[in-house]
């Protein structure tokens, strides 16, 4: 429970600094510091049991299906890292309070810092590896925020993005690798994984899994060739560098190596990958660090180098090396954090971090000088400092690598060379800043900072010295516990004493220290040589790759999604053709065995007419009015065909819809260009014609294939049951529409109303100024004869509409067709007498009629609920009316009436709105009115 609390405290604390910020800087700092301190105290309370070798586990189910538990684990290794995270965290919070500028938003800074702290604790305390990966990515995210904290600085922004990209990529690889790892081990719990070492290392997926996991570790710990993000991350405020980029986050990579050491280490892939990359990084980064002029840059590369050292140690795969690795983690955290803080102090007090500018600060900043000197000594591996012990143990380990039996000198030589450069840059740091004569004046007058900044550094430096002198007594127990969980078994013999006699590693240390000093003395020559070398860095490669991907993405997107609808349609059509054709190509086209229906001359004639009219529509499409007329012919012929194919309802519907469509198209043509310009190239036309021919033929062939097959469908049921005792009808199509499948019909009506409302909305935005034509031959706008005939026709056609509507249940007709006929009667008034005249006399809003229709249909369907029948049940009751007799399909009739009204309302809304378009009206704006009636607005 207290483990969970330790983990939760930083996350809960995130809210405090931003909230307390208004109470002042101190409040914000306390808001960050108190949760940290509490967590640290709680952690320390676990110390005794952990140091005694206990493993504390606390687990809660989270997502069993993924094998993800909220499992926490405190063992020696986790305890060590948690201690570092919280302990150094406390120091950094203190330091930052004094370091950060007065006008910096300190609350946000601490919030990010606590977010990071919590995530880091999560990594080191996770029992479930997926949970660990989860926290892993959060550290990348918080690092992104912290690096980009000085967001006005373009370098900072770039550095933040780069760090996120690299560590994010690594994180994704890591979680992929962990997924494989869990799959191999059969569980994502560390307890299981750590116990399955043999199973894992002998598994087929071991190497790919290892590569993925290592990508995660190497990117995080800035191992070559992924190291370049770390120097770029130095744009972060110095407390961040001190915390994340030296002591904690970058250590997550090596933590992972340590954590999984029992399960993954000891194989030759592990050795060559981890050991090789580590040693290479150690040397390379030390070499580069020597050439850095920026203090933080130097420290960054130094960090990379030391992380390489630790990585190499874990890579060696032996228990002894692992112990040393853990030990160096502790040491490095202490001296590097102190040095970063020192660098921050120098920057803070002088205004620059450039070693070439700085110099001679020993007089102005004596305290700082002492602390820097001690920290650097630890870093350089000078005896009596903690760095010396772990470095010498490291050198010793390089001497005894079974897998390097063929070339045993390689690792020792590279390691020594790395240590040599390490010495060189450490000397440079101290001498360059504090001792050599300054070349120019620093931007600010240098002097020692306040105690608040010095104390945290002092504490860390003290640790370096104390551990350096009495390692066994101070760091011993913690190391034993941490190394114990890293090795995963009995600890090998090791000695943390300063003096092991005259050994080969002592000689190597001596060479490194001496050589380093010599190298520093020769620095001028070396810089000159370095300047002449071409600058090819990982950062350049990264930016090159990123640029390439970006321009590729932009180019590809612009090319593909070019805003051409024609292309999209061609793609859709192409997909459909492929989808339709594939099965036939695979399985063959089989004509059915059913007997064919004999044909007759009339059918052939109508067919020929249809084909000609259809093709005429295509060929005349540029002369639009002609095309409309041809389309009408097609519609008419289709209606005849429907009649012929025993589908009278369809014929009626098609006829009515056709003429309303023609009206629509004519209304549109009034506004749109009357003639389309020629534009397609011949090639394009041929392509389109080919596609069209294939598409059409496909439809025809499928229809042929189906029509020639015998039928076995559910339709007999409808024929059998249409005339059911109550409410049934003889027109089966109508019964299907209003009863069997009333749901579809309700939906269909909704579609119509939606269309009408859409038209209504859209046409509020389209206006067209009508130009009155001057013509003596046909002068009257409303021809008397048309007007006169339209008057009686209104009632007559409405009567017919009623007739068709009422008969629908028994004979062809029904609500939809009746509605269209009624609409046509009304439209005739529009045509004859104009919209204003007609509208004045309608006295009803058609939109309202449409909605009322839908409501009526819905209600008549919902009436069934009252008698505990399913929605849209129509056989509810018969209605007896005197004289008239029994109308036994009341609900059906009401439903159909709803459809009728919706159709009239919808169609008339569309047409009247469309006809009204040319009037110039005020643009639609309800906002003003909305404000008056809007209850939500204050």
């Amino acid at each position: 429970m207290s483990v969970l609390l330790i983990l939760m405290l930083p996350f809960v604390g995130i809210l405090l600094p931003p909230l307390l910020q208004r109470q002042g800087r101190l409040a914000a700092t306390l808001g960050a510091g108190i949760p940290t301190l509490l967590a640290f105290g709680l952690l320390m309370s676990l110390g005794p049991s952990v140091l005694a070798g206990e493993v504390l586990l606390a687990s809660r189910e989270w997502v069993p299906a993924m094998g993800l538990t909220a499992g926490l684990r405190v063992d020696g290794l986790g305890f060590l890292f948690a201690t570092m995270t919280l302990g150094i965290g406390l120091l950094v919070i203190t330091y930052a309070h004094f370091y950060m500028k007065k006008d910096d938003p300190l609350g946000r800074f601490y919030a990010y810092l606590l977010l990071f702290m919590g995530a880091m604790l999560g990594i080191v305390l996770s029992e479930n590896v997926l949970l660990m990966a989860l926290f892993w990515e959060i550290t990348s995210l918080s690092s992104f925020l912290l690096i980009g904290y000085s967001s006005h600085d373009s370098e900072a922004r770039r550095g933040a993005r780069m760090a996120l990209a690299i560590t994010g990529l690594g994180g994704f690889c890591l979680f992929a690798g962990l997924v494989v790892l869990g799959q191999i081990a059969g569980s994502y719990e560390l307890s299981v994984i750590l116990a399955s070492g043999d199973l894992i290392t002998s598994h087929d997926w071991y190497v790919p899994m290892l590569v993925l996991v290592l990508l995660g570790a190497f990117t995080k710990s800035a191992q070559f060739p992924f190291h370049f993000w770390l120097p770029n991350a130095m744009k972060a405020p110095t407390p961040v560098s001190a915390y994340l980029h030296s002591a904690t986050m970058v250590k997550a990579g090596v933590f992972l190596l340590a954590r999984l050491h029992p399960a993954l280490a000891g194989t030759s892939p592990w050795f060559f990958l981890v050991g090789g990359v580590g040693i290479a990084t150690m040397f390379f980064a030390a070499y580069v660090a020597f050439y850095r002029h920026d203090l933080k840059g130097l420290l960054a590369y130094s960090t990379i180098s030391h992380l390489g050292l630790i990585t190499a140690l874990f890579g060696f795969g032996t228990a002894g090396a692992a112990v040393v690795g853990v030990f160096h983690i502790m040491n490095h955290a202490a001296f590097k954090a102190s040095l970063f803080m020192t660098a921050g102090i120098i920057d803070h007090q002088t205004g620059t971090r450039d070693i070439r500018i700085l110099g001679g600060l020993r007089k102005a900043m004596p305290f700082t000088m002492v602390l820097a000197l001690l920290g650097s000594a630890a870093m350089a591996g000078i005896p009596l400092f903690n760095g010396f012990i772990s470095k010498e143990l490291f050198l010793k380990e390089t001497l005894d690598l079974p897998l390097m039996a063929g070339a045993p000198w390689v690792f020792p030589v590279v390691a020594t060379a790395g240590a040599l450069f390490s010495m060189a840059y450490s000397v440079r740091l101290v001498h360059g800043v504090f001792f050599k004569d300054p070349t120019e004046k620093t931007p600010k007058e240098a002097r020692d900072p306040s105690m608040g900044m010095l104390v945290p550094v002092g504490i860390l430096v003290a640790i370096c010295v104390i551990v350096g002198i009495a390692a066994e007594q101070t760091a011993g127990p913690l190391l034993a516990a941490a190394a114990g969980s890293t090795v995963g078994g009995e600890l090998p013999y090791y000695s943390l004493s300063l003096w092991h006699g005259f050994t080969l590693e002592l000689l190597m240390s001596a060479i490194a220290i001496g050589g380093g000093v010599v190298l520093y003395l020769q620095r001028a020559r070396l810089y000159e040589i370095a300047d002449r070398w071409p600058q090819l860095t990982g950062q350049m490669a990264f930016e090159k790759v990123q640029g390439l991907i970006l321009s590729f993405a932009e180019g590809l997107t612009a090319r593909l999604e070019n805003g051409s609808l024609q292309r999209y349609i061609v793609l859709l059509l192409g997909m459909a053709l492929v989808a339709g054709a594939l099965p036939f190509l695979e399985h063959g086209f089989v004509t059915g065995t059913a007997e064919l229906t004999p044909t007759n001359p009339v059918a052939i004639a109508v067919w020929a007419l249809l084909v000609v009219a259809t093709l005429a529509t295509v060929f005349t499409h540029r002369s639009r009015i002609t095309a409309i007329i041809c389309l009408s012919v097609v519609g008419l012929l289709i209606s005849i065909i429907f009649v012929y194919l025993s589908a009278p309802d369809l014929a009626l519907t098609q006829l009515s819809v056709e003429v309303v469509t023609i009206l629509l198209l004519l209304l549109a043509l009034f506004v749109l260009p009357k003639v389309a310009p020629p534009e397609s190239s011949t090639l394009r036309k041929i392509r389109d014609a080919t596609l069209a021919a294939i598409g059409g033929a496909g439809m025809g062939l499928i229809s042929w294939a189906v029509m020639t097959r015998p039928q076995d469908s559910i339709s007999d049921y409808y024929l059998e049951n249409a005339t059911y005792p109550v409410g049934g009808g003889t027109n089966v199509v109508n019964v299907i529409l209003v009863d069997f499948r009333g749901f579809d019909t309700l939906g269909e009506v909704a579609v119509l109303v939606l269309a009408a409302f859409g038209v209504y909305t859209m046409l509020r935005y389209a206006r067209h100024t009508h130009v009155e034509g001057v013509d003596d031959m046909a002068s009257d706008r409303y021809p008397v004869v048309l007007v006169s005939v339209s008057r009686p026709l209104l009632a007559l056609i409405l009567l017919m509409a009623l007739y068709i509507f009422l008969r629908g249940h028994y004979l062809p007709g029904g609500g939809f067709i009746g509605g269209l006929v009624a609409s046509v009667a009304l439209i005739l008034q529009y045509l004859a007498s104009g919209i204003d005249w007609a509208k004045e006399r309608m006295g009803v809003s058609f939109r309202y009629v449409a909605v009322a229709g839908v409501l009526l249909a819905t209600l008549s369907g919902g009436a069934a609920f009252l008698v505990e029948q399913p929605f849209l049940t129509m056989t509810l009751l018969g209605l007896k009316i005197p004289l008239v007799g029994e109308i036994d399909y009341v609900m059906t009739l009401l439903f159909d009436l709803g459809i009728f009204l919706a159709v009239v309302g919808g169609t008339m809304t569309i047409l009247s709105q469309l006809s009204h378009m040319q009037e110039d009206r005020e643009p639609f704006d309800e906002e003003a009115r909305a404000k008056e009636t809007d209850p939500w607005k204050p």
Binding site: A65, G563, G580, F584, R741, M762, G862
Partner: protein, 502 residues
């Protein structure tokens, strides 16, 4: 009588009608109704989840006519999940719209509720032709929502969207016709029974029908190469509409999933595995192109559109494994990405407004006035859609990786997921750093519109949903797993609808 099954359709449908009748002249009444409808839909969905989460399937015979003759509504875990999700997104979209979006056109809430009704109908119906009708309601409502403001951007995109979908509807009918012609039924469960009995001579025909149907669904779901319409359409819609559209493509995914497992599953005789060989590769390419598109977009809304495409790729790739884990992971991701994208669309609207004329274009502009707050929200949203911890997208991706690990497609899926995750990271960190870090300070504080609490409410609401979804991932994943297993052995579904086991 399980009348509750009709509620997800009837609540928004009746609400839409009432919005027109009662709220005809009163925006306040329209808003109250919209909120009630949203809450009602959520409640109906939640109840449905409660009833179905043990794997039970309920059928409701509309009009009292048993399947396959009448239209049957079928409630199972999958439909319940989608209904609930639709309700949630619609509620927040409606709430957000009340800040100046729903007054631009008269019928905003009417269209929105109709679309909800269409979506709910589509995910509940057990009948292929009803599915078509519901799709049309949904589409027509979405057309309207796209153009209701009359802005040029929306109208231009609307022309594309409408015409392409009209062509798609024609194709839908051809597919329905073919399947009816060869099987003689429109009910999906009945069709599943009947395809099993087809002889080899009908193989090509039924498979052609099935594949054509899948093409239609892929158009709705925006699967490569039918995804190109989406970014511009979503990028041109107003914020609440775009946010709500996040659910729209998922209905396509739903249809693919439902039909390809129920009718064209692995035990469908000559119609077996119609889509299975093609879905995964297409989805992987969709994911890749979607992510490249997000990276290559010059406008943030468009980038979000591409992220939708990518998320569709992710979930369909997982579904394309056609294993219980794969489908479950796809479904899990579906919910997550819908919430995440919806939240981002709302948020981007607030951000764009505070950037002045530069709107959502990815160029240097003045930083949003509420830089810290909006930046934080953007950060959270980006985390969600990239699939980073701690939000559920990360878990979804982990699950997809787990699900594909033991299959032959492991390399494709893994490479696609890992590489595109990095692309997403780069794309969104670029966008975020450009907008929030690189942005110039506003010179005149007064002119910049600040987001009100009421505007932020839906954004926070969706974020809260994401967080809750993450916290309760355990039950959610279990539900997805139950649904997936049900889908892969459609016997229960068929029995619930038809009364017989295949």
């Amino acid at each position: 009588m399980n009348h509750w099954i009709t509620l997800p359709v009837l609540i928004p449908f009746v609400a839409a009608i009432l919005i027109e009748i009662v709220g005809r002249h009163h925006i306040g009444a329209r808003r109250v109704l919209a909120v009630c409808a949203g809450l009602g839909t959520i409640a109906a969905g939640a109840y449905m989840l409660l009833r179905t989460h043990q794997g039970e399937i309920f059928t409701y015979a509309m009009g009292g006519w048993e399947a396959p003759f009448g239209v049957a509504l079928v409630a199972d875990g999958l439909s319940a999940l989608l209904v609930t999700l639709t309700g949630v997104v619609s509620l927040f979209a409606a709430l957000y719209s009340m800040n100046r979006h729903d007054t631009k056109g008269k019928f905003f809430h009417f269209f929105l509720q109709m679309q909800v009704a269409g979506i709910c109908g589509a995910v509940l119906t057990g009948d292929l032709f009803s599915l078509f009708v519901c799709f049309e309601i949904m589409l027509l409502a979405s057309y309207n929502l796209l153009v209701y403001t009359g802005e040029e951007r929306g109208l231009k995109a609307g022309v594309h969207y409408v015409i392409l979908n009209l062509a798609g509807s024609a194709l839908f009918l051809v597919a329905i016709g073919t399947l009816y012609g060869v099987t003689g039924t429109l009910n999906l469960a009945d069709m599943a029974l009947r395809v099993g009995e087809l002889g080899p001579e009908d193989t090509a025909l039924v498979r052609a029908g099935g594949l054509l149907l899948m093409v239609v669904f892929m158009l709705k779901a925006a699967v490569l190469p039918l995804h190109l319409w989406l970014p511009n359409v979503y990028g041109s819609a107003t914020a609440p509409v775009a946010a709500f559209f996040a659910i729209l493509t998922k209905v396509g995914v739903y249809a693919i999933l439902r039909v390809s497992t129920l009718v064209f599953g692995s035990e469908a005789g000559v119609a077996a595995d119609v889509l299975a060989p093609y879905l995964l590769p297409l989805a992987a390419l969709t994911l890749a192109l979607g992510m490249l598109g997000a990276l290559g977009s010059l406008r943030l809304r468009k980038a979000l559109g591409f992220l939708i495409v990518a998320s569709i790729g992710t979930m369909l790739m997982s579904i394309g494994l056609y294993t219980p884990e794969g489908i479950a992971a796809g479904l899990y991701y579906l919910v997550h990405s819908t919430l995440g994208i919806a939240m981002l669309f709302l948020l981007v609207d607030l951000i764009a407004r505070q950037r002045g004329e530069k709107d959502d274009r990815l160029v240097v502009a003045r930083a949003p006035a509420q830089r810290a707050l909006l930046g934080l929200l953007f950060f959270a949203g980006a985390i969600a859609v990239v699939g980073l911890p701690p939000l559920s997208g990360f878990l979804g991706k982990v699950w997809v990786l787990q699900a594909s690990l033991m299959t032959p497609h492991v390399v494709v899926v893994w490479v696609a997921i890992l590489l595109t995750s990095v692309l997403a990271l780069v794309a969104l960190s670029r966008a975020g750093s450009l907008i929030f870090w690189k942005g110039e300070e506003a010179d005149d504080e007064e002119r910049v519109p600040r987001a009100t609490a009421f505007e932020l409410l839906p954004v926070f609401g969706l974020l809260a949903c994401l967080i809750l979804y993450t916290l309760f991932s355990g039950p959610a994943a279990e539900l997805c797993m139950m649904i997936a297993e049900g889908l892969l052995s459609p016997g229960d579904y068929i029995e619930a609808v038809m009364g017989v086991r295949p």
